[in-house]
Symmetry: C2
Subunit: 211 residues, 2 copies
DNA sequence: GTCTATAGAAGGATAGAC
DNA sequence: GTCTATCCTTCTATAGAC
């Protein structure tokens, strides 16, 4: 498997991992243009020549790092587990996890970099979209279809409903957080946003026969 | 008025306007880091020294341009006019205008630049947030409150409902467009998204007594 | 105010020794 | 593979003439 994957360094080179770690931190924190190869080499504790021996160019290193980060960042199965309790409680818990994940520093930082550079590195946009929104829509859509099958929801288009639920979670706080406009979101605001999203979602999609 | 505003060049210098126009196009198209002062000077047809005579530094020029663009880009009063017809028709027309505006090349390009540089230029994030999301929420919230006053809606929190309506418009297409992931949104997709947003919005907020 | 020319610094990438 | 030292380009910003 590792013989095919062009990214994995045969898991053998320790310096390579140092470079990957340092570059990931710097690139996500400051963006492509603001990070020099000198800074990465310094931060990783290696020479620039070593850096170029592992990755042919700054573009290549950047694309490798960010693409990998997009695949690694999202943990949808964890966020999508919502069983047991009644539907509203399950949706609240699920919305809390998803929205809090959206608002994490690391998530926002990666999103900013990908948005900024998606024009010059189209593969970044694709990797983020597939790992994030597309996968989330699939998993949440499947869960909603399941609930519909159990008679708790009436959802004609599960993927669309999934998109709408997640979009409602982004109402209010998300732009402020993405643009770095103070004040930082509070837990109370998160609670309010999630509750409002669940309310409107259930008003539209709750099965009439269920509560 | 123009004596107070630090941005306006007393409307006197023709070269200054050339610089502003050229810089606006280049910065929004390629971002801060990828645009050099040489390129701006060349594109504006002036020398670099002239450029520095009008704007003290690249940072200053960039912040001026982008802040101005944020204020100028949004034309909410136009987008928010929705009178006459019945509520659903009005919301559909309003949603169409807003979503199409979101998906315009210029809007997306400006958003990408602001997201990318909001960490290093906090005033950009603030300017965009105030001119865009905050103003839109105020205007649409007022319109919704008006509709509620006329008995066509039941909206306990108009600004929140406004945020939710706009968030629903961003479901589906918006990430794809922001990240530049093909295929480009079609008019049919826009129609579907807007209709779905209006449906769920009215299911939650339509007054029971109105149709 | 506007130009030409250039200073001075920083960045990406490589040569050559080990 | 890894280092040191360096090349070459590009960039921001300025000096000085007009």
């Amino acid at each position: 498997m590792s013989a095919i994957d062009p990214v994995r360094p045969e898991a053998g080179s320790p310096k390579r991992q140092l470079i990957l770690d340092a570059a990931a931190i710097l690139f996500t924190a400051h963006g492509y243009g603001a990070v020099s190869m000198d800074a990465i080499a310094r931060s990783a504790g290696v020479s620039k020549a070593t850096l170029y021996a592992h990755f042919g160019s700054k573009d290549q290193l950047f694309a490798t790092i960010i693409t990998e980060a997009c695949h690694a960042m999202f943990d949808w199965p964890g966020a999508m587990s919502a069983d047991g309790a009644d539907l509203r409680t399950a949706l609240i818990a699920l919305g809390q996890r998803v929205l809090r994940f959206f608002l994490e520093d690391g998530t926002l930082a990666l999103y900013r970099v990908v948005v900024a550079e998606s024009a010059r590195f189209p593969e970044l946009g694709r990797a983020f979209y597939e790992s994030g929104p597309a996968t989330g829509r699939r998993l949440l859509g499947a869960w909603l279809a399941e609930q519909a099958g159990a008679g708790r929801l009436r959802v004609p288009d599960p993927p669309l409903a999934a998109e709408q639920f997640v979009a409602l979670l982004r109402a209010g706080l998300y732009f402020r957080a993405t643009l770095g406009v103070p004040p930082a979101p509070t837990q109370a605001e998160i609670d309010t946003t999630v509750a409002a999203a669940v309310d409107i979602f259930l008003a539209a999609y709750a099965h009439p026969r269920a509560g």
